[in-house]
Amino acid sequence: MNKLNFLSPDKNNLYAYLYSGISLFFLSILIVFLNSFFSLDLTSFLPGTISYFLPLIIGFIGLHLIRIEYSGIKFLDITNKNINTNKFNALLSLLIIFAVIKSLPPLLSWFIIDANFAGDSKDACSGSGACWAYIKTWFNRFMYGMYPNAEQWRINLSFIALAFLGGVGFFATEKFKKYLTLYYVVIYPIIAFLFIFFFISGGPIFFDFSYGIIAAVISIIIGFFIPSKFKMYYFLIIPITIYILLKYIFFYEELIELGKIQAFEWVETGAWGGLSLTFIVSFFCLIFCFPVGLFLSLGRRSDLPIIKYISIGFIEFWRGVPLITVLFMSSVMFPMFLPEDMFIDKLVRVIIAISLFEAAYVAEVIRGGLQALPRGQYDAAKSLGMGYWKMHIFVILPQALKLVIPGIANTFLALVKDTPLIFVVGLLEIVGMLNLAKTNPEWLGFAMEGYVFASIVFFIICYAMSKYSYNLEQKYKTER
């Protein structure tokens, strides 16, 4: 009977089983730990194969002994429930623990113990570990690309300003809350585009931006005298009209003169690069592809055949071609179709190309959400007298978009990780800069450090995005 009891632990001799099980379990971990960190082989007296598997066997027996259901000890129950439900799970848990212990020493030594942190040339890196001096030396290039050092404050300032403008939503008062969507979908992208493009690139063209500012200020002042009924349309139409009037009719000559004044040093987009370019490209692609995708998804479900088939054609076209081809086309083929004197910057073309490409994916994701809504929601909205746009803005889209937050986050993450592909048109963001740096004759042989660095940077960006999307999901969860 005793022997049988030993095979199936129960509550009667709880502590006997518990202590023996735990000590066996920790013994197995200790054996692996000593072996891995200090190269001590405690079980060398045993034949090779048995010595090799001994920790696994001991640990397995240990976990078997502590597998007692409803023991009443909280920690034990949690452990059993999570890593020790049956023999197979116990085996898997042990293997994972051992794998982690085994892989820690080489990782630690490469990353920290044997790594070189100081120095500013290749000679400083003599150890067998990572050469972080390489990253340190090139850090500025990885962040800003070929952008002149003296002008980098412009990039920093733009990012800070945009972050601030983006955070406006958190401080909006109740009165302005209903305009927030309009602000984020239409106004913010335009401001951001003007800001980044004209401020960071600088030069005479910066004054184009000032027309925009004048137009915005005038329209806001007039806006106070407009009845609230028309405000929605007003803020869309007037600023653009004033901008065009200012630029082409009223002050055309004067502003041409003014425009010739050099405000900032002109930095052509070819010199932009590094992580800041990653941010710029992914940021603009994100905010441009979303509205385009939204309209495409609505268009694809439209009752009007022309809109429907144009949308379908557009979506299927962009989904059917590889991104790398699209980028090539945008930079090589597209300018051929433009008139001689017309020039669109390479970066702008790339951003438009990626935006349209991703918009097709976003459209299909959103369409999934639209289809998931029961028809009753459409019926209810219609029966209350809402037209197409009111129904979609207030009833359908809020629900559909909430449903597809995970899918959109997925697409956006893929977009961010696709940005390195812009190297095919000669724009070097962070991975492109790494590739450039690793071929520098003075710094040959540190590709590994570079890629590890880029992975960490991308992981931080993407993990933050995925966390944010999860928070959004939780925030808008109202059902049940």
């Binding site: 009924k229 029961p374 009753g376 929601q377 019926d379 209810a380 909205a381 219609k382 029966s383 209350l384 007298g385 809402m386 037209g387 009111k390 207030f394 009833v395 809020p398 629900q399 909430k402 808008y476 109202t478 059902e479 049940r480």
Partner: protein, 244 residues
């Protein structure tokens, strides 16, 4: 001459090749309560969905409050705002609170100031006795409460006609009563109502006229007492014998 608020003449409707409604003629006078009954698939729901043009009819004419329902969009939204509808599945907007469900259409369709809309919504929620739930979300309410909120939501548009599409079919027996009570109160207040329902008790209590439909046709249309006391067609007799 009594005021005919809905006039349907020789209306036909097809879903593809299948004819769902055959030669429907129906006049509804103001403040009348009409109950439509019949076996499932007989076209009852389709008929009332045609009245606010959630479904389009192919032949004949439907005139609601003096306006004929045609292809013109503006016209249709105007009519829909005057015709309230309550659905079998409630169809509340789950992302909005009960109060917002009720104020959404008055604010954005009727351009009512927010404060007035909220006061109106609370008034109607009070009428159906769920004013205390105003700040909850539909998912937190029971089926009966949700359906009463749906009634309040339709009432907030101050419609001239109310359509009910099997409002109690998705509810427990206990909750049916609270919804029917709300509907009875509404009927007593003088609303013009067209109700598709299997609740014959409700029909007897409230309806002025009962319409029996089968296979897309109006088989029998009679005053309530007449309808239950001596139904004319055999099909109606069979139906009544099964349901009562």
């Amino acid at each position: 001459m009594p005021d005919k608020i809905i006039q349907i003449k020789e209306m036909n409707k097809w879903f593809g090749d299948f004819q769902v409604l055959k030669n429907i003629n129906l006049d509804v006078e103001k403040n009348k309560k009409i109950v439509v009954c019949g076996p499932s698939g007989s076209g009852k729901s389709t008929l009332i969905r045609c009245i606010n043009r959630l479904e389009e009819h192919q032949e004949g004419s439907i005139v609601v409050d003096g306006t004929e329902l045609t292809e013109e969009t503006k016209n249709i939204e105007h009519i829909r705002a005057e015709v309230g509808m309550v659905f079998q599945q409630f169809n509340l907007f789950p992302h909005l609170s009960i109060l917002d469900n009720c104020t959404l259409a008055p604010i954005w369709v009727k351009k009512m100031p927010k404060k007035d809309a909220e006061a109106l919504a609370l008034k109607h929620l009070e009428k159906v006795q769920i004013a205390d739930q105003a700040y909850k979300y539909p998912g937190q309410l029971s089926g009966g409460q949700q359906q009463r909120c749906a009634i309040a939501r339709a009432l907030c548009m101050e419609p001239k006609i109310m359509l009910f599409d099997e409002p109690t079919s998705a509810l427990d027996p206990e909750m049916i009563k609270e919804v029917l009570d709300a509907m009875v109160n509404l009927a007593k207040a003088g609303m013009t109502m067209i109700v598709v329902t299997h609740e014959m008790g409700f029909a007897k209590e409230v309806a002025d006229e009962v319409i029996f439909m089968d296979e897309g046709m109006i088989v029998e249309q009679a005053e309530t007492k007449e309808f239950f006391a001596n139904p004319k067609s055999d099909r109606t007799k069979l139906f009544l014998s099964q349901i009562l």
